[in-house]
Symmetry: C2
Subunit: 460 residues, 2 copies
């Protein structure tokens, strides 16, 4: 008998779960009778690509429907779009739908995703005030920025998505202001000194920043937004995007009595089973943006709202469904984001997180070209490496460049995961070809700079 599986949500978490099952082959797929229920109308989309589509890097249509519903239906999935789950009944092993139907399950996968964090101020419901979390949000922003009357844009929040959208506005010729509470952008993944580099680049690109301040209110004229008020100052705005981060969407889970953690995400064990009443339920999983992860450095709960996190989680869920023993590791959450013509990457923890957890940091930092002097068109790269002052282990890395950011972050991921120290890293051989690298690479220099500081600190 095929096992009845119900998946709530068709974002990356639901989609990757299906894909992980498909990947196991037809035999594995036959073991399951799967229903996926999703609110949205279409198939799978690449939400991460939507801000870049706004920048004109991709075609919006290409990224908003990666796979149509038929692709999943063709695999035998009962793929229900435009349908909402209204409740989970763990005792009955059933979910209720807005259609009035009740779906029984043997296995339940909660993949309810995230929702934008909306500040508690006046005017957030005005026309022209958007968030950037769904395909619909993207289409709404696209229409607003292309409207002939659009002249001024304000983005509230200096995270990767907010900045990406701000760059899109600026490229479009709108006067764009970013309002953020932190003194530098991307503060969740970059230390202030690295954030400053991003800040400078964006100012050069024409963005304006109001930093260290929060928004008092959003003002309208009738139903339509007109301005954002910050510290008493009125900034004209025809579009406002609220991008103050995302929260796990846990309403259904919470109502069903499933344990929610201190970060606001669903608590799971390392097989992604949810917890109710102090017990992990072996047939109910949660994954994706709605769960909290354990951080690999601090071993404390954290959010990791990344597609890359979901990809690993989906493998763990599907392996567990198939009776394998394949557990989730604490997260290092390597992140990379294309900002405009440059990229920013980060893995492990930042100095701020280290400080919050009482971890003393020694860092190595360097900015230099990626290639030899004789290579025309070489780019610059800034690297900051954070080491635990006691163990000398690498615990975080941040990179800004026009190239090669992602793969370097992934390489440093392995170094952090494997507890490599500054000294070990400084003995690392690094592949060299004059067309693609520099013999004394910026990363080598950043490591050496940390080693020197360790030697100074140790009085050697």
């Amino acid at each position: 008998m095929a096992k009845k599986v119900v998946i709530i949500g068709g974002g990356d978490a639901g989609t990757y779960t299906l894909e992980a099952i498909f990947k196991k082959g037809a035999e594995a797929l036959k073991q399951f009778d799967i229903t996926l229920v999703k609110k949205e109308k279409g198939g799978s989309a690449s939400i991460c690509a939507v801000p870049l589509a706004l920048q004109g890097v991709f075609d919006m249509k290409d990224v908003t429907e990666i796979e149509p519903p038929e692709a999943f239906i063709g695999h035998g999935i009962d793929y229900r779009t435009g349908t909402e789950v209204t409740g989970i009944n763990l005792e009955d092993s059933a979910v209720s739908l807005n259609t009035g139907e009740k779906l029984k399950y043997e296995y339940l996968v909660i993949a309810t995703g995230r929702k934008p964090r909306i500040p508690d101020i006046e005017g957030t419901a005005l026309e022209g005030v958007c968030t950037m979390s769904t395909v619909e949000d993207g289409e709404k922003i696209e229409a607003a920025m292309n409207a002939p009357e659009a002249k001024n844009a304000v983005v509230i929040g200096g995270g990767p998505i907010g900045i990406q959208v701000a760059v899109a506005f600026s490229k479009k010729g709108l006067k764009t202001t970013v309002v953020m509470g932190h003194p530098t952008p991307l503060s969740s993944i970059l230390d202030p000194d690295m954030g400053s580099i991003v800040h400078e680049k964006l100012v050069k690109d024409g963005l304006e920043f109001i930093v260290g301040k929060s928004v008092d209110s959003i003002n309208g004229e009738g139903a339509k937004v007109r301005a954002v008020v910050v510290g008493g100052e009125k900034i004209p705005a025809d579009i406002v995007v609220i991008s103050r981060g995302m929260l796990p969407n846990t309403d259904l889970a919470e109502k069903a009595g499933i344990k929610i953690g201190e970060t606001g995400g669903i608590v799971t064990d390392q097989f992604l089973h949810v917890n109710k009443g102090g017990r992990y339920l072996s047939n109910v999983y949660a994954l994706g943006d709605c769960v909290e992860m354990i951080d690999a450095i601090t071993l404390r709960p954290r959010l990791s709202l990344l597609a890359s996190t979901v990809l690993v989680q989906a493998k763990v869920v599907v392996n567990d469904l198939l009776g394998g023993s394949y557990s989730l590791e604490p997260a290092l959450s390597p992140a990379v984001a294309t900002i405009s013509n440059f990229q920013v990457g980060s893995v492990g923890i930042t100095s701020a997180t280290a400080e919050r957890h009482g971890i003393e940091v020694i860092s190595g930092k360097k900015e230099k070209p990626t290639k030899a002097r004789f290579y025309h068109g070489r780019k610059s790269m800034a690297v900051k490496l954070l080491f635990d002052a006691y163990s000398e282990r690498l615990i975080g890395a941040q990179i800004i460049s026009e190239e090669m950011v992602a793969d370097r972050i992934d390489g440093l991921y392995n170094a952090i995961r494997q507890d490599m120290t500054a000294k070990e890293l400084s003995r690392m051989e690094k592949s060299f070809d004059p067309y693609i690298s520099l013999h004394r690479d910026v990363m080598v220099d950043a490591v050496e700079s940390a080693v020197e500081q360790f030697m100074k600190a140790r009085g050697r």
Copy 2:
């Protein structure tokens, strides 16, 4: 009193040793009185970049003099160009020069590099027959390929340098034939199935190959080369480049009684001290292409004639000179080479090396695009990962693509160095941004393919 240091050789090994001392600062530099003796006339050059300069990627002048002698002299180095060391007297702690002078040393650094392996056949001394090992070689080849009568070129050997030079000839419009003993190119760093991908690309680019055969003789007309004879067949040739690999240049060391290993390189300990009569000499170092390394996978001696190897060795030598304790690790020799419009990378051992050492391999292989469907101009990437069948540890990796090869090889370097298994790698989080990566990356797929094979092999 400053310590008297004599460095024999001004290639990468000598240069990087100087640079590693400069890097330690003026105080460290003051501790030494350094003489560097080199045969060549100029300052430091980027030999690795010369074949690419032949391809027109770089300007030959830019790569042949990276730093003029004055740059080193300015640091207080007695930098003697055009001078040859004729003998090392370890008992006297002195070297003899071709000028008749005798230089006493307290510390000696042997950095005599490599020399091309020349097959024992007729005609290797003919005009138009070149090797590709020095700046002079590069200039000679450049002149020969640009001569109006140059129509046909033959490259003997299918290693990275030979292939790079062959591509240069082909780009220049010469009919170019590569003659090699192995069935596929780059056999020292690529398995045959990966080498085949390179082979196909090069054939498409117009190169011709004669494989599995060696050259009988090189024929001339008067002093000038005219043809290469392979298996009785005469291939017309106006230029011939012999590129059958390099040998450590150990003549001076050998004559001085220094121990030479089974690979033909100078034997050293992990501080790069040479060995004489069963004892390591604490004041005589050798580094660079003239020494042999211990392979990190097989723990057997190997050659590692790479600039990246030298860079780490130079740090070890300079740390030892300064009284630090910083030892060399066995080598994984990550290598990357720009071939034409694509790059090839490799780290750890190949299947052939594994077989030679009785290591059973399970591999995962995958070729797919580097970016999402909606990214225009995405490239393909082929990845092969080799795992030890018993421990499931990663022991080798090979990548071919038009982009992102070097940093991925460096990331896998860490994975190999840290004994990561297929299962561990499959749980790896991988940074994702739709502009620079693919959510289910080719490396993830290659790992999964290996995991599946392990499961099959284990009967699971």
